[in-house]
């Protein structure tokens, strides 16, 4: 089983500590931290473990992490509250949430709260490693990520994320809920390749055999509504045999 897509594993060679990205792994389940931490170490990260959100905040006070990987449901302080606390103290360290329930409300909540990405449990650890690398590539110097923005703009396109409304050249357009979730995800992760499988897993929450065409259908809907030409795309680009990528320039508005 290989991890698809964006973050093709660069070698698991441990370099000097200063070059190893620092990961804070937060989960109250010893079985998970006990198995995941060594794996991430071997994948080339420097890893510290915290057992709940409060312990994570305390650790981050004294130790710099390049990325936080956190469970959602934990005692004392849960994962969503951890993200909220970090963001309110203007800490934009990227956070990957390990969602437990995998329900749609938790997925959108994870994004609304300002998490950078999420994986449904149980996940393939290779997938986690490649998500972490993708998040690290995106985040430059602790800057506020697009996933924490209220409104995003790309050319004529404006997405009001809090109100869940989409405008094209000033006029509101209507997308089905799932297409608008997909557009949101692609825009907050621009210029990044997403495989159909990954999108299906992340946004639909079900991975039923051939239904990656569900992704194709929603992309077609987005293109139709946004008058985007698949041959010369301004927004969503097809990467042949691999998946999709948001090709437009995205900025906060």
């Amino acid at each position: 089983m290989t991890a698809p897509g964006a973050g093709a594993a660069s070698a698991a060679v441990p370099g000097p500590d200063s070059t190893r990205p620092a990961v804070l792994l937060v989960d109250d389940e010893e079985a998970i931290t006990g198995a995941l931490a060594p794996f991430l170490e071997r994948s080339g990260f420097e890893v510290r473990v915290a057992h709940d959100g409060q312990e994570a905040l305390d650790t981050l006070d004294v130790w710099h992490a390049d990325v936080v990987v956190s469970d959602v449901m934990m005692p004392r302080l849960d994962g969503r509250e951890l993200v909220r606390r970090l963001r309110t103290r203007d800490d934009w360290t990227p956070v990957v949430l390990l969602t437990q329930v995998g329900e749609s409300f938790e997925r959108s909540a994870a994004l609304d709260e300002g998490a950078d990405d999420y994986l449904n449990k149980p996940f393939n650890p290779q997938e986690l490693a490649s998500r972490i690398r993708a998040v690290l590539r995106r985040s430059v110097g602790g800057e506020k990520p697009l996933s924490a923005a209220d409104r995003l703009v790309s050319g004529d396109l404006l997405v009001d994320r809090t109100a869940r409304r989409v405008f094209l050249a000033g006029a509101e357009v209507v997308l089905t809920p799932r297409a608008s979730l997909l557009l949101d995800y692609l825009m907050t992760h621009p210029r990044e390749l997403h495989t159909r499988e990954r999108l299906l897993q992340a946004l639909w929450g079900f991975d039923l055999v051939p239904s990656t065409r569900a992704v194709d259908h929603r992309v077609a809907e987005i293109r139709r509504v946004l008058h985007d030409d698949a041959g010369a795309p301004r927004y969503v680009e097809t990467v042949p045999n691999l998946g999709y990528r948001f090709c437009g320039q995205v900025r906060r508005a």
Binding site: A12, N124, R178
Partner: protein, 330 residues
């Protein structure tokens, strides 16, 4: 030999009224009347009332009175039947909620152990150079993945009942075409893997064009795809190469019926009523891959769309599955 069909029933209000005799409106005049009558009898009161009524009035009043009594009996019976049906529907709903809670908890409790197994397997395989797909670690990882899918699918079925779903008009013809081409692509891939070209099944689609095409149904196109796909790929899975499979559609009283019929192995009659249950697998399907969740998922999707499912089967002759979905207008 037709199978059971189940339908969604919204739980009706099922207040159980106490005995009407216990109401003071009935009790007070009855008791007062009886007591006064007994007192008058015991006192030997000789007074009486005597009056004449025309025969026509007597007959008329008697007729109307009997009619009213009959009406009251009928209404009472109907009310009782309604109360019983509502009670049964409520019992089913309670059972379903309990079942859903159980599946939620099961899913929840298994997620962390499965995640840990994946991580441990990945951690071990990172230390070895053994890349064999049949190595113990690879087997552990693959089986953990399989369990994860199973548990995830169980939870999805449970969640389907409670989660909001899209309510968009869905073009049934496009849906059917899409499902058929997905199944045919699958068959082609399987055929290539088996090195024998497309492993053919004769799939025919018959959807009406005249006097008008099928109206759209309202719902979630992805979920409906999953439902119809599961039914059609079951038909393929349980029928031999070259077998004929028919996908038919027709309109019926505010609903679109999609029927998938195959000439496959069929289902033993005593198992037909269980096919919609989670993890139900036919006793004659041991050699065929599957989790036994497909039809449960189909049932959950159709129920969520306010429709009904029905399965008929004859052992050795084939099976027909019907999905009845309310139209977008209806």
């Amino acid at each position: 030999m037709s199978g059971g069909s189940r339908s969604t029933g919204a739980p009706g209000p099922s207040r159980r009224p106490g005995s009407p005799w216990s109401s003071p409106w009935v009790l007070v005049p009855t008791v007062v009347g009886l007591v006064v009558a007994v007192v008058l009898l015991v006192a030997g009161n000789p007074q009486g009332l005597r009056f004449t009524v025309p025969l026509a009035t007597v007959v008329g009043v008697a007729g109307v009175g009997l009619g009213l009594v009959a009406l009251a009996v009928l209404m009472l019976r109907r009310a009782l039947a309604r109360a019983r049906a509502a009670g049964a529907a409520q019992a089913r709903e309670v059972e379903r909620v309990a079942h859903r809670r159980f599946l939620d908890r099961l899913d929840h409790e298994l997620k962390n152990p499965l995640t840990a197994i994946h991580a441990a397997a990945a951690s071990v395989s990172a230390t070895t150079t053994d890349d064999d797909r049949h190595s113990p670690v690879a087997v552990i990882d693959a089986q953990a993945a399989r369990m994860g899918r199973l548990v995830g699918d169980l939870r999805k079925i449970a969640a389907l009942d409670s989660q909001p779903i899209e309510q968009e008009p869905v073009d049934v013809e496009a849906l059917a075409e899409d499902v058929v081409s997905a199944v045919q692509e699958e068959l082609a891939v399987q055929g290539e893997l088996a090195g024998q070209g497309a492993a053919g099944r004769d799939i025919t689609v018959a959807l009406p064009r005249v006097p008008w095409p099928l109206p759209p149904v309202r719902g979630d196109v992805d979920l409906l795809f999953v439902a119809l796909y599961n039914v059609l790929s079951n038909a393929v899975k349980f029928s031999p190469e070259g077998a004929r499979i028919e996908l038919r559609g027709f309109e019926e009283e505010g609903a679109v019926v999609l029927e998938v019929a195959d000439s496959g192995a069929g289902i033993p009659p005593d198992e037909v009523s269980f096919v919609w249950d989670e993890l139900a697998r036919g006793s004659n399907t041991r050699g065929v891959q599957g989790s036994g969740l497909g039809l449960a998922m189909v049932h959950a999707v159709v129920r969520r769309h306010g429709g009904q499912v029905q399965l008929s089967s004859r052992l050795g002759h084939g099976t027909s599955v019907r999905l009845r979905l309310p139209t977008a207008r209806g």
